[in-house]
């Protein structure tokens, strides 16, 4: 197949047709990859909602070099041959993204100290790396009551950023659609059909795809902070899923089981609820060894600086990006 050439923040790569700008940027590396809060490789039609991945297309293609008139969502825009894209090198993009982060935060409770997601929260990372340090919002924040969707998952809608990922999981991974978005605008909420339980073998994956602490594992609720736990790759013979998971342990005790996430925070393989919720004894698992966490959050302990891009000061940009 013909390869298309695309240049992102001055780094060029060749990718097959149909690749999105976001995917191409991820292939180059994290110093040029835009943050993505709603796109999820494994979920069809995901992306386009959050607008954190906006980039500037300064040259459309070799054939039609005109720049695109507006910033585009890199997760939903496919590469053309000869395209030139600016991400962190465009002040316009950096500024727009700051705006998006601010919008995502104005109605967010920021109750990180009592939020189970803290430490592995994409919104924390996003705002730390791309946001502004204070809020200009002076009104009451939108709040919702917590609800249980099924006996294993709690929905804390107040924290939801409406990325639609869990909706796609419910839609694409589980039979019968009982879960979706009701209402619209800034009172839209994730909900289930007449408070129905989301009850099937793969529903637990909604917790893994949720970038924030809106959907949390009830069996892990308030048990520990994630950064006190050590992740281990493990597997078991499972007749429903691949059985390849990560065990989060404190000493010998297994506190929770999740899917294996790659450096972009996306799970490699969906896991079933039996593996996730019912197998918490060490004898249930064959351990493969400690898991390398590539993410730059606090869960990787003292690694926060390593991958951080401070958008405000060009001196601190990774060298590769400046060259």
């Amino acid at each position: 197949m013909d390869l298309l050439k695309v240049t992102i923040d001055n780094q060029t790569i060749e990718v097959p047709a149909g690749t999105t700008i976001l995917q191409a940027a991820r292939l180059i590396g994290k110093e040029v990859a835009p943050p993505a809060m709603c796109f999820y490789t494994k979920l069809k039609t995901s992306g386009g909602y959050c607008r954190t991945c906006l980039v500037k297309v300064s040259k459309g293609s070799e054939k039609d070099p005109r720049p695109m008139p507006k910033l585009v969502a890199s997760c939903r825009t496919t590469v053309m041959d000869g395209m030139e894209v600016q991400n962190y090198t465009s002040p316009e993009v950096v500024e727009a993204r700051k705006g998006v982060v601010e919008f995502l935060l104005i109605n967010h409770p920021l109750d990180c100290p009592i939020c189970d997601q803290a430490g592995e929260c994409h919104l924390q990372d996003l705002s730390y790396e791309n946001g502004r340090s204070h809020s200009r919002y002076e009104f009451d924040r939108r709040t919702f009551d917590k609800i249980d969707i099924g006996d294993k998952i709690q929905l804390h809608m107040t924290r939801c950023i409406l990325c639609y990922r869990c909706v796609k999981v419910a839609d694409q991974l589980t039979p019968g659609r009982v879960h979706g978005v009701i209402n619209r605008g800034d009172v839209a909420e994730i909900s289930t059909y007449i408070q129905n339980a989301v009850d099937n073998e793969f529903s637990g994956n909604m917790v893994d795809v949720c970038p924030v602490g809106a959907l949390t594992d009830k069996t892990f609720r308030f048990k520990s902070r994630v950064w006190f736990l050590k992740p281990f790759d493990a597997h078991r013979d499972c007749d429903k899923c691949s059985g390849k998971t990560v065990l989060w342990k404190y000493g010998k005790e297994i506190y929770r089981v999740t899917g294996r996430k790659d450096q972009w925070g996306e799970v490699d393989e969906w896991i079933c609820n039996t593996c996730r919720y019912e197998k918490k004894a060490p004898s249930d698992w064959i351990e493969e060894g400690p898991r390398q966490i590539d993410r730059h959050s606090v869960i990787s302990q003292n690694m926060y600086e390593a991958g951080t891009k401070f958008v405000d000061s060009p001196e601190t940009l990774p060298k590769k990006q400046l060259s």
């Binding site: 909602y49 954190t52 727009a96 705006g99 919008f103 009104f139 619209r184 605008g185």
Partner: protein, 233 residues
């Protein structure tokens, strides 16, 4: 239309041919008019064939020429462009001057304001509409429209502060162009334009909280647009 494409193309000027305009606001003959494009805005507002002038012989204060999402124009830019030419009812002429001194013919929702109307209240009203209409898929529009509405609400009620205008302009800028669909732009433009041309009226709301508590304060003390030289485009 019955006479074929060639005949149709003769009507009006250039790209602008005939259009159905829905005229509303403080005019003597509100209604729906099918106009041949190319007549002047002045004729459209003041002739008896169309809007029939401003009610009760009042002064024209402002006009939104193309539906609530397009930039509002202050009196001195309604009938004349910034370069002093007659403004015509055409796509081209109404957008003359870009967003700095022009607007758009848009959907043809033509709204006229007389001297007593409050631009802050009107802008808040528009923002309420867009806040309500936002579908909530994408973050800038979902969160931004609600935020702008809240800030405009407090300005309207005399509880705003001098930083609010810059805040609104900045928030509008961060929505504009960054959303999935044009509703974000439509929500941002009228607010940015109102502050561009009527900033002194927003400031009045901050400085005279007791006066603006009465939503009809404009009837006692009309606030007219500032002369062109005083406007920083």
């Amino acid at each position: 239309m019955n006479d074929g494409g060639a005949e149709y193309a003769k009507i009006g000027i250039g790209r602008s041919t005939v259009l159905v305009i829905s005229a509303s606001g403080n005019i003597n003959n509100p209604g729906v008019y099918e106009i041949e494009m190319g007549i002047t805005v002045d004729e459209f507002i003041f002739s008896d064939q169309y809007c029939g002038g401003i009610t009760n012989g009042k002064r024209l204060k402002a006009c939104v020429p193309g539906g609530s999402s397009v930039p509002i124009l202050p009196d001195y830019l309604v009938c004349k462009t910034a370069t002093g030419e007659d403004r015509l009812m055409t796509y081209e002429s109404l957008s003359d001057g870009g967003f700095a001194t022009g607007s758009m013919l848009g959907s043809g929702g033509f709204i006229v304001y007389d001297e007593n109307q409050c631009i802050v209240r009107n802008t808040w009203n528009f923002s309420r509409f867009y806040h309500h209409e936002s579908c909530g898929q994408c973050s800038p529009c979902r969160e931004g429209t609600g935020w702008m509405e809240k800030v405009l609400h407090r300005l309207e009620k005399g509880m705003g502060n001098m930083g609010d205008m810059d805040l609104l302009v900045d928030v509008a800028k961060k929505i504009e162009g960054n959303t999935i669909c044009p509703l974000g732009d439509a929500a941002a433009w009228p607010i940015a334009a109102a502050i561009r041309h009527f900033r002194h009226e927003f400031e009045y709301h901050v400085l005279h909280p007791e006066k603006v508590k009465d939503p009809k304060h404009g009837y006692r003390e009309p606030i007219m647009p500032k002369a062109p030289s005083a406007v920083t485009a």
